[in-house]
């Protein structure tokens, strides 16, 4: 074999084998030892992505983590609707400063938003709380009895039912850069998961002044593959669907473990009863 062909052969072979060894080694490391956290989720917190190209051309099944942020102020113009945005009460300018995220003025006397630089999403660690204080407060606000004469009484009643029976109970409640410090603050590994995510700052300019706020742009690894064995174990011949947008899915219970590299996997998946409080 000419020397250049031999060199190509051995280099390519080594790269393929080394790459797979490193990747699979990383998977083994992530799943070895005790998981960083173990959450029990349901069809309320795990959904098939509704904008994913499932069906004809893709036979795989992923479940998508449905996380939320607690908002004490009404965020939408439609009374009684559930908030799925990334802004939260706890993600204020103090927290942004702690995370090292800021926005700077481009000119000495900035008059509008364009005069400030746009921030880029920063890579941070997020704390996700399952069925904890954030959900209970949100439920309490949604189910506060309206006055009989309130114009949005019906909508609010609908919202209360939605929060009680269908909405996700998984909330992003904190963020930080130090994993050990976050785990110390939230030691309950059955209800609090630390995962990677992105936070971005935005500048609100009002008549009263400028106000820096942040929002959670996304949670990394929030798409969880469902192995074939789990799809067939409950006897379904077609993929089980969780909560697709606008639909009521079949109930199920899923144990999601997050490993040493903060990457999740599905430990078990079984039919469940409908989750109502």
């Amino acid at each position: 074999m000419p020397w250049y062909r031999a060199r190509t052969f051995f280099l390519g072979l080594a790269l393929i084998l080394l790459t797979n060894a490193v990747v699979l080694g990383g998977v083994w490391y992530n799943r070895s030892g005790d998981p960083d956290s173990t959450l029990t989720l349901t069809e309320r917190e795990l959904a098939s992505p509704f904008n994913y190209w499932h069906g004809e051309e893709n036979s795989g099944l992923n479940l998508h983590l449905v996380w939320r942020m607690e908002q004490s102020r009404p965020q939408t113009n439609t009374p009684g609707s559930v908030y799925f945005g990334g802004e939260g009460d706890w993600l204020d300018s103090t927290k942004l400063k702690e995370l090292g995220i800021s926005i700077h003025a481009r000119s000495p006397s900035p008059r509008n938003g364009a005069a400030f630089n746009s921030s880029l999403p920063a890579d941070v660690l997020l704390v996700l709380e399952m069925d904890g204080a954030a959900y209970r407060r949100t439920l309490e606000r949604a189910c506060r009895l309206p006055t009989a004469a309130a114009p949005d009484a019906v909508a609010r009643q609908k919202n209360c039912l939605e929060e009680t029976n269908r909405s996700s109970r998984l909330f992003v409640v904190d963020a930080g850069l130090d994993r050990e410090a976050l785990r110390k603050k939230y030691p309950d590994r059955a209800h609090y998961a630390v995962m990677r995510g992105q936070i971005q700052a935005s500048l609100i300019i009002q008549v009263s002044g400028r106000h820096l706020t942040g929002y959670v742009r996304g949670v990394a690894s929030d798409e969880i593959d469902v192995p074939l064995s789990m799809r067939t174990s409950i006897g379904a011949s077609t993929p089980i669907m969780g909560r697709v947008y606008g639909q009521q899915g079949k109930p199920f219970a899923a144990v999601v473990m997050i490993g040493r590299r903060l990457e999740p996997w599905l430990a078990s998946l079984s039919p469940g009863v409908s989750q109502s409080n």
């Binding site: 074999m1 250049y4 062909r5 060199r7 190509t8 052969f9 280099l11 390519g12 072979l13 790269l15 393929i16 084998l17 790459t19 797979n20 990747v23 699979l24 990383g26 998977v27 992530n30 051309e57 893709n58 036979s59 795989g60 099944l61 992923n62 090292g100 700077h104 003025a105 481009r106 000119s107 364009a114 005069a115 630089n117 746009s118 880029l120 999403p121 920063a122 890579d123 990677r196 992105q198 742009r217 990394a220 690894s221 798409e223 969880i224 593959d225 192995p227 074939l228 064995s229 799809r231 993929p239 590299r261 903060l262 990457e263 999740p264 996997w265």
Partner: protein, 356 residues
């Protein structure tokens, strides 16, 4: 003669010589005896035969046309087969157990790579080898990306470095420019993403700051001149053009979008600065390309200069000027550019083509 390109150039030279010799003989400018003509013809026939055998070159115009067709077919075939690999796996992967998925993902790039190397030994034309190399690259991309999906791994720009490495190994091993381009795109993405994360941002958003591409552009341009590519047809040109496009693209964007800059200055100031930088770098690349005889550098620089100029014309005059006048100015500018390039071509240095 070490490359197919050199061999083809030699064949073309022989054909050009034969055509010119025929004219000289017809005009009775150069009388040759029968012996002399036969000696020349025999020499050229033997040389053409050897080169065709060793390099699979086009021995006449018809062969050249067919070669162009084969190249197009090879390119489209490579892209289609690569897409087919992806869609095939996505169609059936959900019906496989995890061990089966991992085994297939590992076996696919290994088997296709081994087949590619074996094929390169038996495929004189190289077209089939390039097809197989592209399929092997597609399998490796699938290998890494699907493992990431199956095991819910956090996405990382390191995947682009692996893909770049594999594409470059195939490109240099099989002498295929398509994979060189694929490898350089992956490498540019990796370098830009790494510079993006250095500022604390999430890696996927590296495109939000076009300046992240400048280090990659410099790396490609340095590689174009530092690495000896004489054995590889068109590789040096590919590095030069890729480097220039990686440099000019962000400059063009930032000359219209100052908010995307890392610099914390007034946006208008940043846009003005990048516009000036753009015109200067385009001018320098034209000058350098003429000086060193690199037509590709001249053409890329000239194209970017014109695009940048026309975007500024649009910014300045589209709203305020009658449209007929606007297009008249654009047209006259193009004519002026032609005159300038023709003059540069006539300066006696390595010629530019004069194309805008």
């Amino acid at each position: 003669m070490s490359t197919r390109g050199e061999a083809q150039a030699r064949i073309d030279q022989i054909h050009a010589f034969q055509r010119e010799l025929a004219r000289l003989l017809d005009s009775k400018v150069l009388p040759l005896s029968e012996e002399q003509r036969q000696a020349i013809d025999s020499y050229h026939a033997a040389l053409t035969k050897d080169l065709s055998r060793d390099f699979d070159v086009d021995s006449d115009a018809r062969a050249k046309q067919l070669s162009t067709g084969m190249r197009i077919a090879s390119f489209l075939g490579a892209l289609s087969l690569a897409a087919s690999v992806f869609f095939f796996f996505y169609k059936f992967w959900g019906q496989l157990t995890m061990p089966a998925q991992v085994s297939i993902l590992l076996a696919a790039p290994l088997m296709t790579f081994i087949f590619t190397v074996w094929l390169s030994k038996h495929d004189g034309s190289g077209y089939f080898t390039k097809l197989a190399a592209m399929v092997s690259f597609a399998c490796f991309v699938l290998n890494v990306s699907m493992l990431g999906q199956i095991f819910n791994m956090t996405s990382s720009p390191n995947a682009f470095l692996l893909w770049a490495a594999f594409a470059l190994i195939l490109a240099y091993g099989m002498d295929t420019r398509l994979l060189l381009v694929a490898g350089l795109i992956c490498l540019v993405t990796y370098i830009a993403a790494r510079f993006g994360t250095a500022s604390g941002a999430y890696w996927i958003d590296f495109g939000e700051r076009p300046e992240n591409f400048f280090p990659a552009a410099v790396a490609l341009l340095v590689a174009a001149f530092a690495i000896d590519h004489r054995r590889f047809d068109g590789f040096a040109m590919t590095y030069r053009v890729s480097g220039l496009l990686t440099l000019f693209g962000p400059i063009l964007v930032l000359s219209n979008w100052g908010e995307g800059s890392y610099f914390l200055w007034d946006s208008d100031l940043i846009e003005g600065g990048y516009q000036i930088t753009g015109f200067i770098t385009a001018g320098l690349s034209i000058w350098f390309g003429i000086r060193r005889g690199h037509t590709d550098v001249v053409n890329t620089g000239a194209t970017f200069f014109v695009v940048l100029l026309y975007t500024k014309f649009y910014d300045w005059w589209w709203e305020t000027m009658p449209k007929y006048l606007f297009f008249l100015i654009v047209g006259l500018t193009a004519v002026l550019f032609l005159f300038v390039l023709r003059r540069l071509r006539g300066l006696g240095r390595s010629p530019a083509t004069g194309e805008v």
